[in-house]
């Protein structure tokens, strides 16, 4: 019962955050609001990604993660596609791990 209650509460909280703005935004969003929204996705995605560079797991090298993410960033910037940074970044991480970097 406790578990069901927790899951239901989490579901409601999640739905609220996802739906609140979509339900509220009216016909004509103000100009300043629109200008601001132009920068929201880029800021959110960068904020989601960047902290991953700071995690330092036991066993692997110290610099492997942020270097792998840098390789990924470079590939993403050059190719502007999803798969090259993923594959290149992971391969870079494994190589760096093998050398304990």
């Amino acid at each position: 019962m406790e578990t069901a209650l927790r899951i239901a509460g989490m579901a409601l909280a999640t739905f609220f955050t996802r739906y609140a703005m979509i339900a509220l935004v009216g016909r004509e969003p103000p100009v300043l609001f629109r200008r601001w929204l132009r920068y929201v996705p880029v800021a959110l995605l960068a904020a989601l990604i960047a902290p991953a560079a700071l995690v330092s797991p036991a066993g692997a090298g110290v610099h492997g993660r942020w270097l792998a993410l840098s390789v990924g960033a470079l590939l993403a910037w050059r190719t502007r596609q999803v798969l090259p940074p993923l594959v290149g970044g992971l391969v870079a991480f494994w190589i760096l791990c093998a050398f304990r970097i």
């Binding site: 609220f16 960047a50 993410l69």
Partner: protein, 242 residues
């Protein structure tokens, strides 16, 4: 890609658009499946049954919130878990705000369904498409459906198999998420201002993740850096007039 390109009426799209959304999300699905498996494994370790783990993925459908909830499952109460979920998902308020103008004119129940299903990944590919003029409700729905086909099932499989991955960070499996998002991020880096906003948000989030609990750093860094974008526009305008 200017904000003025928001159409008067929301584009509903066709079955072909739905398919395009599914195809756009497909490269991200292996990453989602890996996270789903890890989630299922972890759910068993904190004492959830496979069916409870599955139910949570089906109706909560929010990866980072679910992982965090599992992390505090044994030690925290129901309210703490629900409030933490709310805090972690606050970033969805911003996502909702940025995609809402494209959904104006759709029936409320369709908007509710799209909101209910909006994952980080499907939001990202859909807003890219909207900004490029190829987005539609059907596309967004297809991207959402792709995630929903994979996330609950992979969680159930992980919980049923129940094998333990000793330390996922060791193999860089947790890098799958940030690496796939890098490709999506670059679609928005179109000039110096957006590049500066991205770098500011990244730096703020790194500092914030060290200082703040939970996932507040994503919301706060996103808010501050995006407002910084408007500040840059104003500075540029003042510079031109000067």
């Amino acid at each position: 890609m200017a904000a003025e390109e928001i159409p008067e009426q929301a584009r509903r799209g066709t079955l072909a658009d739905f398919r395009r959304g599914l195809i756009a999300i497909a490269p991200l699905l292996p990453g989602v499946a890996i996270f789903g498996l890890l989630y299922g494994v972890m759910a068993r370790q904190v004492g959830l049954s496979p069916w409870e783990a599955w139910a949570m993925s089906l109706i909560v459908h929010a990866g980072s919130a679910q992982f965090t909830a599992l992390g505090m499952w044994a030690s925290a109460g129901t309210w703490a878990i629900v409030l933490t979920t709310l805090a972690i998902n606050l970033r969805h308020l911003l996502m909702g705000a940025s995609i809402a103008p494209y959904l104006l004119g759709l029936r409320q129940r369709w908007r509710a369904l799209l909101a209910l299903w909006m994952a980080d990944e499907s939001y990202a590919v859909s807003i890219v498409a909207y900004r490029q003029g190829t987005g539609s409700a059907a596309y967004f729905l297809g991207a959402n459906a792709g995630i929903y086909l994979v996330w609950p099932v992979s969680g159930l499989v992980g919980a049923l198999v129940g094998m333990t991955v000793p330390d996922p960070t060791r193999y860089g499996l947790d890098l799958v998420f940030p690496l796939t998002f890098l490709g999506l991020l670059m679609a928005f880096v179109e000039d110096r201002k957006t590049a500066a906003v991205a770098m500011t948000a990244g730096l703020l989030a790194m500092v914030g993740s060290r200082v703040l609990a939970g996932q507040w750093h994503v919301l706060i860094a996103g808010l501050l850096a995006s407002l910084g974008g408007i500040a840059l526009e104003e500075m540029e305008r003042a510079w031109r007039q000067h």
